[in-house]
Amino acid sequence: METTPQTESKIIELKPFADEMVVNMGPQHPSTHGVLRLELKLDGEVVREAIPHIGYLHRCFEKHSENLSYPQIIPFTDRMDYVAAMNQNWGFCLAVEKLLEADESKEFEVPERAEYLRVLICELNRIASHLLSFGTYGMDMGAFTPFLYAFRDRERLLLLFEKVCGARLTYNYIRIGGVSEIIPLEPGSIAEQNFLDEIEAFLDYFEPLIDEYNELLTKNSIFSERTTRVAVMSAEMALSYGATGPNLRGSGVDWDLRRDEPYSIYDRFDFDVPVAVDVPELGSVVGDCWSRYKIRMDEMKESIRIVRQILAEGLPGGPVMAELKAVRPPKGEIYFRSEAPRGELGFYIVSDGTPKPVRLKGRSPCFSALSALQELSQGLMVADIIAIIGSIDIVMGEVDR
């Protein structure tokens, strides 16, 4: 096998000082939330530098997309953030729809029923995603029980998703122009009523549990000792690193795309945007690991509020797909961002008027947030690295694409 000139000319320079030790963490490590590899340069137990190496899950999403038609790309977005796949489907479909709308010769509108179903399902998926984050973060910090509780409750949500699209993890449910009809949910039918009743039963069961989980983990003194005042990310730093979603709000920036740049029908719902504040009784300051974690716990309550409003209104009738003969956006380009559970999910699409995109870039929230790790971890202990990774809540499928 030929070696490339690139490797031949590469000189690896190590600058060891008295006690420096280089520890390789990952890519196979239970606390790196996937295949993240960190090169840790340690002085005793103090981290001098943590260099993230990513790409172990690179699946050439962008290259694949250039050879696929728009509807065929949707299953690929499922595999980006696989714990919140509905939101990824939606983000992509929104971008394509936005570009389709720019073509004035073809009129099309996403039906009302589809919009309601999208918000309903995506908010439930946000709860499922935050639940997973809560459970695994607890386990990272040494508490095993929250993990079991989180997976128990998430299971009920996955069963609901299975009822609506047949899949538990990679849904391919939200389509360009509406939602999938693969399992029919006729307006006013018994199936629809059962589905909504089940959601309501879940919310009634789950809402009081959030407070229980807060008692169990959030206010737990071992947990809060491990996470408060650790890796404080200032608002400027968060913005500069492009941290979005709960990470940005955890740094005290009051910003949520659902409220500030409302897309779909989010402007019809009443919900608050949780923003981190100092919590002196636990010793938490804005921007630390605990704040980022707490935002997710609070966001679950807001998602429940949104879902309850939909349940109170009831789903409107009508079709769930717009009348679209072919997905063929006009020549042009668009960048559209939506609020996924992990932050701002953007898709940049360049179209030349053919059914396939010329260029598709997925701007992943985890990719940007993870780049802050190197600066955040300097001077902390090795165990704090785990606390940081868990608190910025990465999914490697989305980082590596």
Binding site: M1, I54, D260, G346, V350, S351, V358
Partner: protein, 161 residues
């Protein structure tokens, strides 16, 4: 501020380095900038109080066609305080693709530029650590280029399937 106004401000400030304003195509309009001036323009966008573009949403390399002579680099920038956004576009020749880095202005540009280097081979001058990010260090070629041909073998493993 609307993108038209930002365009006027930039032409006043930078004159010929601002090449034009594209609105004909569907979707987002964009301001074309000369590649050598991109870092200065971005710095002006960040530091001017009325503009205050404090967040780089996305930085992407684009190769439209194998026959084209240029790569495009597109910057989607947003200002939290003023809630306005702008799309900057610049083009570098494929034979010698290099332009100034903006990673000192927005730290997120660090990884985004590494990604553009990794997948397109665009060189960002002044970037502190320009190496591959998604692909292995010894990978040959730049896969998102339209004329890319994947290697037959990588470390003894067959690549085309």
């Amino acid at each position: 501020m609307k993108i038209e106004e930002i365009y006027e401000v930039l032409t006043k400030q930078f004159g010929e380095a601002v090449l034009g304003f594209d609105t004909e195509l569907a979707g987002d309009p964009n301001i074309r900038i000369a590649p050598s001036a991109i870092a200065d323009v971005c710095q002006y966008l960040v530091e001017t109080d009325t503009l205050a573009f404090d967040s780089l949403m996305c930085l992407s390399g684009v190769d439209l066609n194998a026959k084209d002579e240029d790569f495009a680099i597109v910057y989607h920038i947003y200002a939290m305080r003023h809630r306005h956004s702008v799309v900057l576009k610049t083009a570098v020749p494929k034979t010698d693709p290099h332009l100034p880095s903006v990673s000192h202005l927005w730290k997120t540009a660090d990884w985004h530029e590494r990604e553009a280097y990794d997948l397109y081979g665009i060189l960002f001058e002044g970037h502190s650590d320009l190496r591959r990010i998604l692909l292995p260090d010894d990978w040959d070629g730049y896969p998102l280029r339209k004329d890319y041909k994947e290697p037959e073998f990588y470390r003894g493993m067959r690549v085309p399937y």
